[in-house]
Symmetry: C2
Subunit: 148 residues, 2 copies
Amino acid sequence: MENRIQRIKEALQEAQYKLTPQREVTVKVLLENERDHLSAEDVFLKVKDKYPEIGLATVYRTLELLSELKILDKINFGDGVSRYDLRKEGAKHFHHHLVCMECGAVEEIEEDLLEDVEKIVEKEYNFKVMDHRLTFHGICGDCQSKKD
Amino acid sequence: MENRIQRIKEALQEAQYKLTPQREVTVKVLLENERDHLSAEDVFLKVKDKYPEIGLATVYRTLELLSELKILDKINFGDGVSRYDLRKEGAKHFHHHLVCMECGAVEEIEEDLLEDVEKIVEKEYNFKVMDHRLTFHGICGDCQSKKD
DNA sequence: AGTTATAATGTTTGTGATTATCAAACAAAG
DNA sequence: CTTTGTTTGATAATCACAAACATTATAACT
C-alpha cells in the first residue's frame, strides 16, 4: 500500500502536482476500498472520518485530478452518480464490469477480452482505439442459484 | 416508419400504456433522428416544433417509459447528459459506439462483436449475460488524417 | 527567519439536468 | 352522465457537480 501511494506521489510530481495531506487521505481511502465503486460523496464521507476539516470541493478536485492522470477511471453505471475506480497498476486499459440486474453487485474482470475486437474496429472502421469500456448486464451466479 | 410506430404502439399496449399524441410525436422525433444521440433537452426542443403545448416533464416521462420497455437505450458518454438511442428492431443487444476523443463524433457499430466474449463471461464467471454496453474511445478516421 | 509567488484548500454560491408534486384534462367503464 | 384511473403541463424541489473567491499552505528565494 505504501508502495502504491509512493507511485502515485511520483505520478503527481511528474505532472507538477503535490501530494498534499488531503490528497493522500483521499488516495488511501480509494486504496482501502479498491473493490468498491465509490461515488464522490462516498469518498467524501470516508475521507471525512480521517480528516474532518476537508471540504467536498477538494475531494471532487482530487478525483478529477487523479482521473486526468489515469490513476482513476471515472465510470457511470446509469444511476445518476459518477463512480471512481482505481486503475490497476500497469493496465493499459480500463477493466470490464459485470453488473447484476437483480442485486446490483458489480464484479470486475481484469482479463483483457477485447484484443481481437479492437483489431477489427481498427481495421474495419479505421478508428484508432485508445481505450474502451465494456459492461455486461445480467444475472450473477448467486442470484441465478437463488432463483432455482 | 408507420410500421415501427405501430409496433411501438403494440408494445405500449402490451404493458398497459397508451400511445397518446404526445408520446407519438416523441417517438416520431426519435425515429427521424435515429442516427443522432439526442439528449432529453434535444428531444424536447424538436418535439416542441411539432407539438408546442408539450411539457418538458412529459418528454422525460416518455423517454423513461420507452427505456423501461427496451424500445430506447439510455446512454451516457460522460458529458453530463443522458442520451437516448432507439434500439434496432429485433436486436437483442445494445449496439456499440466509437467515440472520437478529438472531435466528439459518435459512430455506431451494428455488428455484434461480442459473441465469443460473452461465451467466455458466461462460462468463466458464471454470469448470465442479458445485455452489454461497449464503447471505444479513440481517434476517428477524419481526425487521424487531419493530424498528418 | 522573512518575503514573495504560486498552489491548494474550504466555504459558499451557482448551474443545469432530472424528479416530484399536484391540479387539471382526458379516457375508459359502468 | 358519473366515476375511476391515466396522463399531462406548470412549477418547485433536488441533487450532483462546477465556479468563484478569499484564505491558507508551500517552495524558492533572499
